[in-house]
Subunit: 231 residues, 2 copies
């Protein structure tokens, strides 16, 4: 079966989401302390922020307000704005593609493959990432969970991409870092699953066969080896 | 009476808010057109965006969503994100102080004056501006309408600043561009009003004596002439 299309996840596939997330939050904490947050231990404040993000979700807009509350500090717009500015500036600095991404995508396009994105999250936020990464024009389709109404591993999000690409599942690869989402979802949808060993889940083991990837790669450039094996 | 404190507005006093607002919105429109918004006339789309901002208020987060609706275009996260990224990048590029601002503030500090900000709007947003302008450490007090609960020209927002500075109204100057807000408010609160002739209201005439500024300056550096006259 000839492969026609390649679907990719964004976080930890196109850019280092782990490094960005850590740097944005740590720099926000440091700036808040410089603006007057009466905390000595950056690590303690960082861990507390992680708990708040976990509790309220990553799209909640008042993480820093809740952090001040947790430390019993009166609401302070200077401290909060210092966190927001540092977060924002750090995000823009770190939202750069892995060095191999643009050359690999260019080569895949030149080889005739259609490319797509399947991403969980708010559509505008995911497009914002693609634009800042400078890769928004590479993809024939971008499917987000917000638009489909279900998240990975639900098959419907993969089916939406396949339909838009006019591609059968077995003619399609899905490259992602998450066994429970990208790999389990691709396997269920009949798409050939390729795990990229990057990010915080790189050492995770599949707990059942449905999560087992068909291929594992360390780096996006190895996708050419996978394609060679499949042809 | 010796002047002890100087209060300032942010927009059009510390930076060119007119230029920023125009550039952010125009660049957002242009990027949205490049991302597929099927509009040929940038000016028409710009005017429509202005109407939407007027209707929904400047803090409303879905101006671009409403713009697509107005043009009968289906909600499109690529187009909206393109607008958001361009708006954001342009804001950061244009949020720079007028060239005379930092030298003037430094000189006023060196002369022993206390400095304060009185600004209508959301506190975190105003602090975000002060931080990006690099002037957040110059001010002994920052008072926002969100925190006081009333906007200029209400006297209470001026009284909050005077109290924080431990300063009597006649010992204090207020520098702003808006007759109806900064000047009328300062006059009512007994603060010496100084109009800076910048921004879109520079040609406005006072319609009654309560809006008449005690002094008018073209540029922040002329504040030293005002201080010399008052001493």
């Amino acid at each position: 079966m000839k492969i026609k299309s390649i679907l990719l996840d964004i976080d930890n596939v196109l850019y280092d989401s782990v490094k960005l997330t850590e740097a944005t939050r740590r720099n926000a904490i440091i700036s808040m302390i410089e603006a007057g947050l009466p905390i000595k231990d950056v690590e303690q404040a960082y861990q507390m922020l992680l708990e708040i993000v976990k509790g309220y979700g990553s799209n909640y807009p008042y993480h820093f307000d809740r952090l001040l509350e947790k430390f019993g500090v009166k609401w302070n717009p200077h401290i909060i704005a210092a966190g927001v500015v540092a977060y924002d500036d750090t995000k823009h600095a770190y939202l750069k593609p892995y060095p191999e991404v643009i050359p690999t995508l260019l080569k895949l396009k030149a080889m005739g493959y259609k490319l797509g994105i399947i991403s969980d999250g708010r559509a505008v936020k995911q497009w914002d990432k693609l634009i800042r990464l400078g890769v928004q024009h590479f993809f024939d389709v971008v499917v987000t969970s917000e638009e489909v109404g279900v998240e990975k591993p639900d098959s419907r999000i993969f089916e939406a991409a396949l339909e838009a690409l006019n591609c059968r599942s077995e003619e399609c690869l899905m490259i992602g870092d998450r066994l429970t989402k990208d790999i389990a979802g691709a396997n269920k949808a009949g798409v050939i699953s390729v795990r990229v060993l990057k990010g915080r889940y790189a050492n995770e083991k599949p707990v059942n066969p449905s999560m087992k990837p068909k291929f594992e790669i360390k780096n996006l450039t190895e996708i050419f080896d996978v394609l060679a094996k499949l042809s």
